[in-house]
Symmetry: C2
């Protein structure tokens, strides 16, 4: 889409007319509706459609007046493409300015909501360096990668009902943990609260129960991408996770950005990736690729980790092919987390448990403080190329 | 509620006027609506409400005309009690017969649908004998129960989008498994397809994010109970489950009954249970109890296992208190599976992997056949006191 626009986009803003992420907003307690972010403004698509400027697919008016992206997401790639091209054209063509500008609102006037209803939330473990680090920390002396790891994108289901929008305060979870050296667990506020830097892939087009989605067709189902912070209580998780995996150590909250970046806006960041060894089974095979999305973790205003989504071993197409290989269906609103993204270097680790090596080596912050895990009041912001930030602050346990 | 009724209830039917389970049905492709099962008939609550016979709470007419139980479920215990008492009274009072009978339809005329929209599906592991059996089978030579098992109700999240109504055909899943002695996995139809006999607890009243539900208040959130078959591909599960737990070995389908039995209808089956050892932490502590629901697994017309829900070590109140202990919220439509229910004796095991001891000791069927795991064409029906059956037939992999 065009890079030109008559709209105001501040220097350095990632939200120029080539990105155009979608969100759900409201003004002055009016009903929620669909908008697009341009610079530091939100463009009201429901208003444009009502004025006859956005009749790009049959259900368009209802889709943009809906209290979330769900109808747009279900409408499929042709509708997504038509909307994106038409919005870019309206923002590029100065002759439309007088009709469009009344629908532009300063971001500060808008309340932002969870952009879509999360159907199922599945979280993967797709970064080789993260999985290796966690294996070393949790199972010292053993081979860090489980035997299945290079054969399939390991994953599990998380709690869809506790996915929250960026800015939501995170109440420190209570739960059971086994104190070092103890034989019986205690119950109390988590002492090892952590972040996980992830991408979230948002499913638009559903699939049929009983019919796997081929890896070559998988991206046709993907509406867009969000940054995702999979908050984790490492002490709860360590005690509970055998044999059925993470549960309360993760389920208290998962934050996603308020804006969903269309997959089309990330196409230019698609890069070839190294060959997978061993070659995956046929249903997972494709030309290796990744998204060269630069990522960072900011803690109380300081960047504590920088990495790239190039560090994902498994692609989102492979995650979808695997998720549906057994006949499981996709629904509009399914959210697929990549798992924590870490690179090979120390400063490229996407979680505190890796950065502080299990809490043994706390990181130093510029103000002279140190952190092994999150303290009450800590503010975390995840950022990524062409993606909206996901922010959250820790508040004390209730 | 009254045991008397003018309606026809066949001898031996479990669906007398003391049970009155709720479901979602349609007639002749008309819209879905809410009904109650009495004997072999469905009573159309939407029709009763339209005729002014069921104005038992403010949103009643909309709740019963909805395409599922969701609005009724969210309306809370007072609305549930009022509905149940009024329906029982209408069915008991012969003077109402002429006005009510036009809303009774033979079950054979009705199409039954998934009774409610499943929000999150969490599955527990709450039967001591099942967890012990699985530990012995999967980790021979080790202590069968993981160290956390007697301290908390172990659980994980399943896939809500593949919960299907009784009667839905189950397509044998494909997936990765590691053949015995092999070093690399293969991909193909599961060879170890299994059933899991479970109760499902259905959440009606939501809770607030960040605020745990006390064990004493937990049952106020429970609308009712269903039988649940957590179909499982043991070969897929064994290969994938470390370290994040079950995923594709479970996510292809979970069947629930078409009728949700109100918790109130099971009150008479509530019995004291043995003390838990060790005593659980405070947030899980209550007077031990269980539901004396007799259960059976029928395979191709023969009962292959009989047990009771008394064999659940953790109560549904404890499951809810634990699930929310970290601040996670409940939503209307959350489904909590108990995990497979097994008793101490061989004939009381609620899964084939236990009945056939990992496939080593196939069970004999009356017709002379044997089964270690399910074959294509096999039909499984789960039954339980005051609960509607959940049935499913295996069809070949696509």
């Amino acid at each position: 889409v065009s890079e030109a626009t008559w709209a105001s986009v501040p220097d350095g803003s990632p939200f120029g007319p080539a990105v155009l992420p979608y969100g759900c907003f409201s003004l002055d307690r009016q009903p929620r509706r669909v908008g697009v972010r341009i610079g530091d403004h939100v463009l009201d698509l429901a208003g444009l459609a009502r004025d006859g400027l956005l009749g790009v697919f049959p259900a368009a008016q209802a889709a943009f007046a809906a209290p979330g992206l769900d109808v747009l997401m279900a409408s499929g790639p042709d509708a997504w493409r038509a909307t994106r091209e038409r919005v870019a054209a309206l923002l590029a063509d100065g002759r439309e300015r007088a009709r469009v500008e009344p629908h532009l609102h300063p971001l500060g006037d808008a309340e932002l909501h969870l952009p879509f209803a999360v159907a199922d939330y599945a979280d993967f473990y797709a970064s080789l360096h993260h999985a290796t680090n966690l294996g070393r920390l949790l199972r010292p002396g053993e081979e860090p990668l489980p035997p299945n790891w290079r054969h399939l994108p390991v994953g599990y289901h998380g709690r869809a009902g506790t996915v929250v929008v960026s800015g939501t305060e995170i109440v420190r979870p209570r739960g059971q943990y086994l104190p070092a050296g103890a034989r019986a667990p205690e119950y109390g506020p988590s002492r090892r609260l952590d972040v996980e830097l992830e991408l979230g892939f948002v499913i638009g087009v559903p699939s049929r129960l009983g019919t796997p989605v081929a890896v070559a067709d998988a991206l046709e189902h993907v509406f867009g991408v969000v940054l995702l912070n999979d908050w984790s209580a490492r002490d709860l998780q360590a005690w509970e996770y055998r044999p059925l995996g993470p549960f309360l150590g993760k389920s208290f909250a998962t934050s996603i950005a308020a804006w969903v970046t269309p997959l089309a806006a990330l196409e230019r960041l698609r890069v070839p990736a190294p060959a997978q060894e061993p070659a995956p089974l046929g249903y997972l095979r494709e030309d290796p690729w990744a998204l060269d999305v630069d990522l960072e973790v900011e803690l109380n205003g300081d960047v504590v980790a920088r990495t790239s989504a190039r560090n994902l071993y498994w692609s989102p197409a492979q995650m979808i092919a695997h998720l549906t290989a057994n006949g499981a269906s996709l629904r509009t609103g399914d959210l697929l987390g990549s798992g924590t993204i870490s690179g090979p270097e120390r400063g490229e680790r996407g979680s505190l448990v890796e950065l502080s090596w299990g809490g043994e080596e706390p990181i130093s912050l510029p103000g002279g403080q140190t952190r092994a895990f999150l303290e009450d009041g800590d503010a975390v912001v995840l950022r990524g190329t062409a993606l909206a930030e996901v922010a959250g602050r820790v508040v004390p346990a209730a």
